[in-house]
Amino acid sequence: MYALDLVNVKKSFTLHLQGGLHLPVVAGVNFAVQPGTCVALTGPSGCGKSSILKMIFGSYRCDGGHILVRDSDHIVDIATASPRTVLMMRQRAMSYVSQFLLAVPRVATIDVVAETLRRAAPDEARTRAADLLRRLNIPERLMAVPPATFSGGEQQRVNIARGFLPNCPVLLLDEPTASLDSENRAVVIDLIAGKKRGGVAVVAIIHDKQVRDAVADQIVDVASFAAA
């Protein structure tokens, strides 16, 4: 029983400012992810790996096919779901670690992370956020500061904490270890392994071969979905 199933997914862009230039990205994307496993998307830059993750999360539109996400007892097709349904799925079924952190200028790091636990009491959410940030080696004194001024690696770890704190059955990771040192890479490998043990289905873009080998159960070569 899959947690996530992509059926014949298709994506292209039409750039109207470039005279209507049509850019096919991927077509015929087919793969499924079982609970407790990790699928790694591979392929050269620009082949559509991030586009696939963004379509699953609903931040890119899907031009064809189905993106089926299981939400306890029913299945939602993100490709055709209403905005409201996608928002609900993001609250309880999918979390996403993007490459870049988007945060409100004045919000403290601990709250940036804690706010992802919408159903928890504020104190409990902050305690759990602090635990996870500590595990990711974010020093206590930085937790009260907004993350805007952090280094690239620190921001990425805040982003990881945001994605990993809520316990969603589907976890999408876009280059989670790209700007991390080896110590923090090992922490992220551990965290991903923990999610898998908890039955989470993970889809990840990971360039670092060592990390990929450590977490991936299945490799999907996105170049094989190149659109004609």
Binding site: L17, P83, R84, L87, V104, P105
Partner: protein, 261 residues
């Protein structure tokens, strides 16, 4: 926070407004749910403010309807409401934050009275309690309590805007309309205000419709977005989807016109 059990709070159905032969906005339809923030973006003259005025019952549509779920749970056409019901919406159930705070405040009475007045309009009489509520709201919008007896003409632009927000939210509205709430403010003041709006909307689980020409504001505050051009909604959907994967030529132009900081 989106809850599947919720019913739509506001519904626009093929709303159209003509000013003589000039189109104000046309064929706008959408539903807004409790806790949702929707941004309306587009250039000046695209019909954003006309739409906001139609939705808030300040303008009568040439065609189409606005339905609102009253506190008894019944969906009512704004056009069918009696004067008392309309007053109730304006005084209690809705907020309207103007770009220019002077339009939404009474500049000749104190800051505290500006907040207290909305409570008195809904029947509060006990001075101490009104004062207490005003003080609480001064805290929440981060205005120093010792300014409570000063008139807003002595406030800075950012303080006036925060006072306007306090005045609007003190009656626990369910829906707030905001017309360029951060327009005309310094960037640092804007950031503080955005953070404040975002926090209050989340805490109070408000529904809000925010007109802005600033896509960064839309991205930070809203989950859904409508892009307007020449009075029509040319593209709508999830905010991140429309801004990251714009489909219409005009939306692509808007998104590509942002200067990176």
């Amino acid at each position: 926070m989106i809850d599947a059990e919720d019913h739509a709070l506001l519904q626009a159905r093929v709303l159209t407004k003509w000013y003589g032969l000039q189109i104000g906005c046309r064929d706008i339809s959408f539903e807004l749910y409790p806790g949702e923030v929707m941004a309306v973006v587009g250039e000046s003259g695209s019909g954003k403010t006309t739409l906001l005025q139609l939705l808030s019952g300040q303008l009568a549509p040439s065609a189409g309807h606005v339905f609102y779920r009253m506190r008894d749970g019944v969906m009512r056409d704004l056009a069918s409401l009696g004067e008392a019901e309309r007053r109730f919406l304006f005084r209690t159930d809705w907020g309207y934050v103007h770009q220019e705070p002077a339009l939404g405040l009474r500049m000749a009475v104190s800051g505290g009275a500006n907040v207290g007045e909305r409570l008195m309009a809904v029947g509060w009489r006990h001075y101490g309690r009104i004062r207490g509520a005003a003080k609480d709201w001064f805290d929440r919008v981060e205005i120093a309590y010792d300014r409570i007896d000063d008139v807003p003409t002595t406030y800075s632009g950012g303080m006036r805007q925060r006072l306007q927000i306090a005045r609007n939210l003190v009656t626990n509205p369910r829906l707030v309309f905001m017309d360029e709430p951060t327009g005309g403010l310094d960037v640092s003041v804007q950031a503080r205000l955005l953070d404040l709006i975002r926090r209050l909307v989340g805490e109070l689980r408000l529904a809000a419709i925010i007109v802005t020409h600033d896509l960064a504001v839309a991205r930070l505050l809203s989950q859904r977005i409508i892009v307007m051009k020449d009075g029509a909604a040319i593209e709508s959907g999830l905010t991140d989807q429309v801004l990251d994967d714009p489909r219409e030529p005009y939306t692509q132009l808007l998104v590509s016109s942002i200067l990176p900081a």
